[in-house]
Symmetry: C2
Subunit: 338 residues, 2 copies
């Protein structure tokens, strides 16, 4: 008997946080034996997804992401919303442990009954988007959370991944960062639906206002993501809880704009298509590497590479020869049945 | 007649810098019509590769990577070596242009007759390793360069990619960076063959020495990459050209250690295997998406996703059904010939 997906589906739907965490752990599992169950659980939860505000937040280390997310999260739970945070756990890539502990992140939000924080190990990505962030986001939605926040580290492929799964992509910046950052910032800015300049407090207020002007000018040099939305530049202080509601109201305005034009659905459809391609490529690789012929020839060519008898480029051609060609006669050694 | 690879191969081999640049551009091309030519050029150059010192250099923005690489590069060309740098061009991901211009990077090294600098657009990776960095490195080797330096930005998947194609991976650090960086740093440190604390000059010398001690302690907490090599922590000032030769001598010591134990070859064999897997997956995707049946069904399910008739997870299963299964009878709709 295959394992029963219902306890997971019902547990998540009933708002059971332990089952929510357990379901995400199941989805993140790399065990082959978990794949069918995972699939059934996701299929069972998908009809209950789609209603939440999906928010990506990024910024380079030191910009105050955790403090900002905690401040925004507390603001939202105080309004009665339910907030899930899929957060970067800046832990070791090789050993899985964190050198600093980092247990104090978002400690007020973490204990709130309407909040759920899931630290994803930064793992091999270093950027903080786990392989299964999209699925985890959907599980949280099915679990009744209204706002899902996905955090990334701000320099890396993760930003593209997150921007392609959220409704709103917020970039946190600091006033007066080094010039060398500019190029990277531009890449980020081009994806941004808004920029919030954090740490606009104390002696830093004037610098933050100047940075705001500079970013506003920079934004005019770029092609906007949306023709009707020039990404606003805001200042805030997560530490002093200042400007946080302004950021939130702007996110709601953006949503209103998208919804009234019927574009939220369009955006999500496009995202669903790109998700499909990602899943497709994973499935394709699995199919390929499970073939006995592929595994065998892979062993042979690996030995030939090690002994210097062949080069990787030639080896690859030998293995790809195993794939069935359009005209079967041209390739008798293919995977096709004899 | 297929285009002739010989002008490229001979041009690169003769040290013609224009042909070197042109060959890398060819390799980076995404045009299908360039693929066979690219393949022939690489096959033709591979026998002339393998002799160079392959050096990866990383560090977060602001650490002084360009200045360090210029300082090291000048030091090496003055010794009569030929140095190629595959450098990050921190340009826009969406538009391809750089907001800052950034024309002044490594300007002394760039004009030296024994140096070759190839800026790779950071492109969609944001981290600076282009899809074809490995191939570009091999082209430079075949062109007679003794030292190939590959630069990355220091937070992202690029570091794993680069560490998996070089002989020595150097991490640049600064004294006194924020605590939030620690987690990311650990991920980097675990891949490092050495750490150089840059900007150890002026008022910063004491702080750099303290950082050196701290990193030395941190290194003891980690599993070393190599049992016979505890990654040294050095201080240097690229701006003042101080400590640069120490870094270089250490790189030579590491190489001597690897070579005397026969491990340089082992390391490169492993890297060749991982390169093969990467090429294999690219080839597999190409094969799959070129199938007429796949393209057709992809069109259908995409429409169903857009109209909400199906979910991406179910759509993927429908498309993967097209792949030939081990038992053909179980899957009559497969790609197998009827």
């Amino acid at each position: 008997m295959p394992p029963d997906p219902r306890p997971y589906i019902e547990g998540v739907r009933s708002g059971d946080r332990r089952m929510l965490a357990k379901t995400i752990t199941l989805i993140e599992s790399r065990l082959l034996s978990h794949q069918d169950l995972t699939q059934s659980v996701i299929d069972g939860l998908l009809p209950f997804t789609g209603h939440a505000i999906r928010l990506g937040i990024t910024g380079v280390p030191g910009v105050g992401k955790s403090t900002f997310i905690e401040s925004l999260g507390l603001h939202l739970v105080e309004q009665g919303r339910r907030v899930a945070v899929l957060a970067v756990d800046p832990s070791s890539a090789r050993s899985g442990g964190s050198i600093m502990g980092d247990k104090t992140r978002m400690e007020k939000l973490a204990v709130h009954e309407h909040a759920f924080i899931r630290p994803s190990p930064a793992g091999r990505t270093l950027g903080g988007v786990s392989r299964k962030t999209r699925e985890s986001m959907l599980v949280c939605e099915a679990g009744g959370f209204d706002v899902i926040i996905v955090e990334t580290v701000g320099v890396g492929q993760s930003e593209y991944a997150v921007a392609s799964m959220v409704d709103f992509f917020l970039v946190l910046m600091l006033a007066g960062a080094g010039d060398e950052l500019q190029g990277i910032k531009r890449g980020l800015l081009e994806m941004a639906d808004a920029v919030a300049i954090n740490k606009a407090d104390g002696d830093n207020i004037d610098a933050a206002e100047r940075a705001k002007k500079a970013y506003e000018n920079a934004m005019h040099l770029m092609t906007p993501v949306h023709p009707c939305w020039t990404p606003p530049i805001l200042t805030c202080s997560a530490l002093a809880h200042k400007g946080i509601d302004d950021v939130w109201q702007m996110i709601l305005r953006h949503r209103e704009m998208l919804t009234s034009r019927g574009e939220l659905n369009l955006k999500r459809q496009e995202q669903a298509i790109s998700w499909m391609h990602q899943l497709l490529e994973e499935g394709l690789k699995k199919w390929f590497y499970e073939k006995a012929e592929v595994r065998e020839r892979l062993k042979d060519v690996s030995r030939h590479i090690e002994t210097g008898k062949t080069h990787p480029t030639a080896a690859v051609r030998q293995i790809l020869d195993l794939l069935p060609q359009s005209d079967p006669k041209s390739n008798p050694k293919s995977l096709q049945p004899k």
